[in-house]
């Protein structure tokens, strides 16, 4: 159910220093998110696709990942052209689609896909623990990183607990329907999950104390910057700067 599908691979992107990937991903996403020039957005999408091709990930898996988000965007396409004010472009029955609406929806589609593809190519291609350690070396707040890694560690455990509880319900003939019995059962399921999680947390904390936990967390990972990383960083910085220039020149 919860697995890192993209983090194992042998491509150039998989071998990049994770800190470089984070340092590239964040400005890229921010620049794309605030751009409005179509030239810049198409260029950004092209960059993301290029990065994705470099990762040599299975196109089918990436496509399925994007399906959900693009479903939401499709929903926006059904609403935005008909609710935005502007110059009329086309009509479907009584509804009038405006040019401004179509342009806005197109921008959203380009931005969202460009950022998500870059996120898959850069951030999903490393194991979550590696991401946590890289963030720690980039001096992200300590407590958040520990919370992040701890939470990730226990998602799989709690997920198994959840499946055990759901199977127990099914064995007792539970069928989900739209009635109070269903909602009460789900509420008890959530409650039970919380109670078991809290008890587990107590045991985990006491186990940590038994093993000499003194309130400080340590990370032992070491990353090394290679020449390929520096070249990549330089090229991506130039590319992001190029996007900024495209956007600025479109406004001016």
């Amino acid at each position: 159910m919860i697995e890192e599908q993209f983090s194992t691979g042998e491509s150039f992107v998989h071998g990049l220093d994770p800190r470089i990937k984070i340092v590239v991903a964040i400005p890229f996403s921010v620049v794309v998110a605030v751009s409005s020039s179509f030239l810049a957005l198409f260029a950004a999408l092209a960059m993301s696709l290029f990065l994705l091709v470099l990762t040599r990930l299975s196109a089918r898996k990436v496509f399925y990942r994007l399906l959900l988000v693009n479903g939401l965007i499709l929903f926006l396409w059904l609403l935005i052209p008909f609710t935005f004010k502007g110059e009329a472009l086309f009509t479907i029955g009584p509804l009038v689609g405006t040019k401004e609406g179509v342009l806005y929806a197109s921008r959203i589609t380009l931005k969202c896909n460009a950022i998500l593809l870059a996120m898959i190519a850069l951030l999903a291609t490393m194991p979550v623990f590696t991401l946590g350690h890289a963030m720690s070396q980039l001096h992200f707040p300590d407590k958040i990183i520990h919370l992040f890694l701890f939470t990730y560690r226990y998602i799989h455990v709690i997920s198994q607990e959840y499946h055990r509880l759901v199977n127990a319900m099914k064995i007792r003939g539970f069928i989900a329907r739209t009635n109070i019995h269903t909602y009460r059962s789900y509420a008890y399921l959530v409650g039970m999950l919380l109670v078991k999680s809290y008890d587990r947390a107590e045991r985990v904390y006491k186990a940590m104390l038994c093993r000499g936990f003194s309130g400080k967390y340590y990370t032992l990972s070491q990353f090394s910057i290679k020449r390929g990383d520096i070249v990549y960083l330089a090229l991506m910085s130039a590319a992001i700067l190029g996007l900024v220039i495209l956007q600025w020149s479109a406004i001016a």
Binding site: A25, V30, V32, A33, V34, R65, L68, V69, L76, L79, I80, T83, F84, E100, G101, T109, L110, K111, C112, A114, I115, M119, A124, V128, L131, K143, I144, H146, L147, F148, F150, T151, Y152, Y154, I155, V157, I158, Y162, A176, R177, T182, Y183, R184, Y186, A187, V190, G191, M192, L193, L194, V195, S197, Y198, R200, A201, V204, Y205, M208, G215, K216
Partner: protein, 201 residues
């Protein structure tokens, strides 16, 4: 109620990130290193629980349960929800990184408000007031989240007003379901582990 990448304007994104930063830093101050295992395991329970789909008529909705999140964690709900959203973005590409701040505010601020509104009331001996507070907590948490989504959309682009209204209306069944589920869940916790309802902070 996640807003995906690319929908909101820069001012809204920046405001969201700033508000989230404030909430998270208050939450982090109240969270000692010793509390991290508890908050983390509860966060992962909320993460798993938010993947549960509940039938509503012909379709289904996934649980949000930010009401219970607020009740159990108080201010700690800010870091907890931030981490859950980050993991959802990384593992499922649901949400995103530029919208992490604003999505955190959308989920956690209502949770915090409901914590302050209902935290004391649900602890009373099981009576009508306790049950009604629990329902109110679940209902209003989703309602305020919807209002925040609507505000974000409208501040991005005035023409979004109809989309915003539609989203709030579309979530009315979800609000009712969440209220019901919060009601039963709180009743369950009050019987099985009342110390959880006292809040971790």
């Amino acid at each position: 109620m996640h807003i995906s990448e690319g929908v909101l304007s820069a001012p809204v994104l920046i405001t969201g990130a700033a508000l989230a930063a404030v909430g998270i830093s208050v939450g982090l101050k109240k969270m000692d290193y010793e509390k991290i295992p508890h908050v983390a395991v509860l966060s992962s329970a909320f993460f798993v629980a938010s993947l549960i789909h509940v039938p509503i008529g012909p379709s289904n909705a996934h649980l949000i349960i930010n009401g219970i999140n607020g009740l159990l964690l108080g201010w700690l709900c800010f870091p907890s929800i931030l981490v859950a959203l980050a993991l959802q973005a990384l593992l499922f590409q649901y949400g995103g990184i530029t919208v992490l701040g604003i999505n955190t505010v959308i989920m956690a601020l209502p949770a915090l408000i409901c914590y302050y509104l209902f935290g004391g009331l649900v602890n009373r001996k099981r009576g009508l007031l306790s049950l009604a507070s629990a329902f109110g907590c679940g209902f209003l948490a989703v309602f305020f989240s919807g209002i925040l989504v609507a505000l974000c959309l409208v501040f991005t682009e005035k023409s979004f007003i109809s989309v915003a209204k539609l989203i709030v209306l579309a979530h009315l069944p979800v609000m009712i379901i969440e209220g019901i589920i919060t009601l039963f869940c709180v009743a369950f916790l009050a019987r099985v582990k009342p110390e959880l309802l006292g809040g971790l902070s």
